[in-house]
């Protein structure tokens, strides 16, 4: 099995990469290659030009901005993020999710930007971005622009990027004080894409009630799905089985994806069960507001 013929470019700067993507016909960027390379090997993808981003320096940084925002370069390797103390502090849910992204060998190469742009409906990192109110930063011939992850995730494996744009960073707003997070998924084998995954953040108020809930589901819709109904049901509620049961019950109205292996009713059932468990875990991890 061989990738189809392509011309290979390994620019040293982001500007060169953008110029190549803008100037060459049917050009595709190559990040960590853990999805693109299988697609090339199986010839699902047949670009005429491959623009490798791996030789560009400065795209793999992890920084905490003065307001606490966690800014992660698009080419940061998943395995580096898994072990990065700033990620553990600023987005513990991401560390929990990364343990379930593929395997050690794929995480050593795979990047956060590659995963967000591939945008598999069951992938873990897009779900974390959706549940964290992330903002993505794209660079193109006209400069840089920011977009909310909700706008960026346009549809099934369709990121909101022009062909001459490159995702350069993802920015995660600081977690409010005392926030408790949980990432949970069910897959048949460790490292597989999830059948259903859930990402939850619960923020306490001074009285220990839930001031704010952020809930997102993966594997259910064409892109990660926020659950505004469940989030609203939890606002102001005391953490506990009653509130969590009500929130989990909102998954009954979901109309999940269906495929040859997993019927819609099973995904709907899993969504409710996993959400209930994730809420209980996240509540247990809440601290003082």
């Amino acid at each position: 099995m061989k990738p189809p013929p392509f011309a290979y470019h390994d620019p040293r700067t982001l500007d060169e990469a953008i110029a190549l993507l803008a100037g060459l016909p049917n050009a595709r960027p190559l990040a960590g290659g853990q999805s693109m390379m299988p697609m090339l090997n199986m010839r699902f993808a047949q670009p005429d030009h491959l623009v490798d981003l791996n030789r560009i320096t400065g795209l793999e940084t992890v920084e905490v901005e003065p307001d606490g925002t966690l800014a992660i370069g698009a080419m940061a390797r998943q395995r580096d993020l898994e072990r990065h103390p700033a990620v553990a502090r600023g987005c513990p849910m991401m560390v929990e999710a990364l343990g379930q992204v593929g395997h050690r060998q794929t995480r050593n190469r795979g990047t956060i930007g590659g995963s967000l742009c591939h945008l598999d409906p069951a992938a873990e990192l897009p779900l974390v971005a959706a549940a964290s109110d992330a903002v993505v930063v794209a660079a193109g011939p006209k400069g840089r622009r920011e977009a909310t992850f909700a706008d960026f995730a346009r549809g099934f494996m369709t990121p909101g990027l022009d062909p001459d744009e490159v995702l350069v960073a993802v920015r995660l707003p600081a977690l409010p004080a005392g926030a408790g997070c949980c990432f949970l998924e069910f897959a048949r084998r460790h490292g597989d894409f999830a059948i259903v995954a859930v990402a939850v953040t619960l923020v306490p108020d001074a009285a220990g009630r839930i001031a704010l809930a952020r809930i997102a589901l993966g594997g259910v819709g064409p892109v990660p799905l926020r659950l505004p109904e469940a989030e609203a049901a939890l606002r102001g509620a005391a953490p506990g089985a009653e509130a969590f049961g009500q929130a989990a019950a909102t998954t009954r109205h979901l109309d999940p994806l269906e495929d040859a292996l997993v019927p819609a009713w099973y995904r709907r059932h899993l969504a409710g069960v996993l959400l209930g468990r994730a809420l209980a875990t996240a509540a247990g991890r809440m601290g003082r507001a």
Partner: protein, 166 residues
């Protein structure tokens, strides 16, 4: 082959401590480069799309899928294959010795990928639990279903390596 560097180029990298070079098509995978261009057939290719783990090699000390990296991306990097694990021709790496002792291989197809993966893992986690070992090899498929002896051998090798380091 074409003079156009976007179609083919010379790749120079250090493989098992030795500087190697070959001119290859840019679409050559690292695994094919090792096998076909450098003659190192210890690295096996199973699925060729990143699922089976047989082609795992170490690049700058990190375990990666050899089928999901291009040879041109290995330029200036240090690659370690299964051929480079043993200290010399007469002895085995502690993992290899433990695999042999515990019959942790039958057909041997998955073994190079298991070993390279576990070399990186034990360097990070010198005293693993059986569950941690199982997770570490979750990306390596063994069709002889020899996981039990593989886990046993890994735990024994870990203990031997701790003694060596002490």
């Amino acid at each position: 082959m074409s003079d156009d560097r976007s179609l083919s180029r010379e790749v120079t990298c250090t493989v098992n401590g030795v500087k190697r070079a070959a001119t290859v098509s840019v679409r050559r995978t690292l695994a094919d480069f090792l096998r076909h261009d450098l003659g190192l057939t210890g690295t096996h290719l199973g699925c060729e799309h990143g699922v089976c783990g047989a082609c795992t090699v170490l690049v700058d000390g990190r375990a990666v899928r050899g089928c999901l990296m291009l040879a041109v991306q290995a330029e200036d990097r240090a690659v370690t294959t299964v051929e480079g694990l043993a200290p010399d021709a007469a002895s085995l790496h502690p993992l290899q010795a433990a695999f042999a002792r515990h019959h942790a291989l039958q057909c041997g197809f998955c073994t190079p990928g298991m070993l390279t993966t576990l070399v990186e893992f034990l360097a990070e986690v010198p005293e693993p639990t059986p569950a941690q070992v199982r997770e570490a090899i979750s990306g390596n498929l063994c069709r002889c279903t020899g996981y039990e002896p593989i886990v046993t051998a890994t735990l024994e090798a870990a203990a031997a390596m701790r003694r060596q380091a002490a």
